[in-house]
Every structure is written in C-alpha cells, then in structure tokens.
C-alpha cells in the first residue's frame, strides 16, 4: 500500500536509445551495495520489455515500474 521505497541512487537515462539504457543500468547497479535500490528513468519504450529481461538474467529485482507521459521509472533492487 503506502509502502515507501528508499532510493539510494538515481540514474537519468532519458533520451538514450537501445542498448544504452540497459548498458548504463548494468554498470550503475554495481555502484550500489546489494540490497540497495536504484531509480532508473528512461524515455525508451523498448526498455519496458528490456529492463525486466535484464533483471531476470542478471538476477536483480524490479520492485516497481511507473509510467507517466512517456517517462518510465524503474525501481531496481540490487540482488546479485
């Protein structure tokens, strides 16, 4: 319900095209500790499919996905 997600790092990936959002987030997640959360902001519609696929194969968890006017926000917890 009103569960707040604590964000440890924000990544602005707006305007970037495939494969950059996934490449950058895979680098960025290594800069936080396991258990910490990053908020990745993209405008690439392809990332709606790409981020979950990347998270599944890399063993990380997408806690929440928000979409608002072409801007997509992923809250990703580092698990691996």
């Amino acid at each position: 319900m009103g569960e707040e997600i604590t964000v440890d790092k924000v990544m602005d990936l707006k305007g970037l095209a495939c494969p950059m959002p996934v490449v950058k987030v895979s680098k960025g997640i290594k800069e936080v500790e396991i258990g910490q959360v990053i908020e990745a902001v993209t405008t690439d519609p392809g990332s709606l499919a790409d981020f979950p696929a990347w998270a599944r194969t890399s063993g990380n968890e997408i806690l929440k996905t928000d979409q608002e006017g072409g801007v997509i926000r992923f809250y990703i917890k580092r698990k691996a």
């Binding site: 305007g15 495939c18 494969p19 950059m20 996934v22 490449v23 895979s26 990347w54 194969t57 890399s58």
Partner: protein
C-alpha cells in the same frame, strides 16, 4: 518358528551387504563420469558472433547485440571475417610495402568504422550520411562509439587471419583494442562450441 525365519533372512541380507556396497559404488562411479561429460558439454554463459558483413546497419546491429549481451553479464566474442575485417582498420595508421592487390583492396574497402556504408539506400553516400545524422538526432550510438563501449564492457574481438591475408591487410594497420586476437576458424569454433548463442551476421 516365525521369529527364527525372520532372523535367518536378516543374516542373509547382511551377507549381501558387501556385494550391494560394491554395486552402489560402481553406479556412483558411472554417474560421476556421466556428470563430468555432461558438465563439459553444457554451454557457458557466452555469445559468439560472426561479423561477416561490412555494412553499417548489420555491423551496428552486431554491436548492439554484443554490448547488450555484455550488459546482461554474458561473455561476448566477436569474430570479424571477410567484409567485416576492414571495419577494424585504423584510419590514422599508415603501412608500407603492400603489393598491387593489397593496395587496391586498401583503397576500395572502408578504412575504419567511420567509412562503412549502409547495405540499402546508400545512394552514393547520401543515404548513409542521412542515416548518420538521424542516428545522432535520435541519440543512437555511432559505430565508433559502439566500438569504444564494447572495449569498455570487455567484449573480445577476434579477427580472421585469412581474410587479413587475402585482402592484404597488416596487423599494424588495425585498431588498438584491448582484447584483440588474430586467429582462424578453429579458435572461433572452440568459442562457439561452448556458447549459448551463436550468430552469423
């Protein structure tokens, strides 16, 4: 009466124990060898790409796949052969001592990633120039940027020695890349054999 019968059976079974143990040990041994051969045959988390094409669009797609796979934690090998080899030439490097055919190939094939043309709608270079400006506008990375990114992500590049020889390219004129190997088909096949994904582009 019943009791003694049961006792007898117990004794019999106990006599069988050494034999049973031996059988079990044998079975475990067999399973172990089977497991070892299976784990050897299991592919690694690796992608092997053959970049045969020298077209901008196809090479760009190759690099997008390569860098994406690397981002997903996969080990990536790109094997550049035939028309793919000239892409890895360094524009700034000059070499001497090429024969006539070598000079011809050098002049006619693209020198480096910046000279690569589209496979379709090139229109004497106009189409390629338009595509490049569109890519810039849409924030799609250029081939040169993709090469840099691949290097950063640890993508390994193999160059086909035979293609180099055929087109008269020399090692000294190829780009400086951290993971560059000159090799033949056997080296690539060794990589491809234990890769989960193999692509020919």
């Amino acid at each position: 009466m019943k009791e003694s019968n049961a006792k007898k059976q117990d004794v019999l079974e106990q006599d069988d124990y050494p034999q049973k143990m031996e059988d079990l040990e044998k079975q475990i041994g067999e399973l172990k060898t089977q497991f070892e051969s299976l784990s050897k045959a299991t592919p690694e988390n690796k992608v092997s790409l053959i970049v045969f094409s020298g077209d901008l669009d196809k090479v760009l797609a190759s690099f997008i796949i390569a860098t994406g796979a690397a981002a997903m934690g996969m080990d990536v090998v790109m094997f550049f052969t035939f028309w793919g080899t000239p892409i890895l030439r360094d524009k700034g490097k000059k070499v001497r001592g090429k024969d006539f055919m070598g000079k011809m190939f050098s002049a006619m094939l693209p020198k480096g990633a910046c000279e690569v043309k589209l496979s379709k709608m090139n229109m004497a270079g106009m189409g390629t120039a338009m595509m490049k400006s569109l890519m810039k506008k849409k924030n799609v990375a250029s081939l040169e940027q993709m090469l840099e990114l691949a290097a950063e992500l640890g993508v390994r590049i193999h160059i086909c020695e035979m293609s180099m020889d055929l087109m008269g390219f020399k090692r000294e004129e190829m780009i400086d890349y951290p993971n560059l190997t000159f090799c033949g088909v056997a080296k690539f096949m060794e990589e491809a054999q234990n890769s989960k994904v193999q692509l020919f582009i």
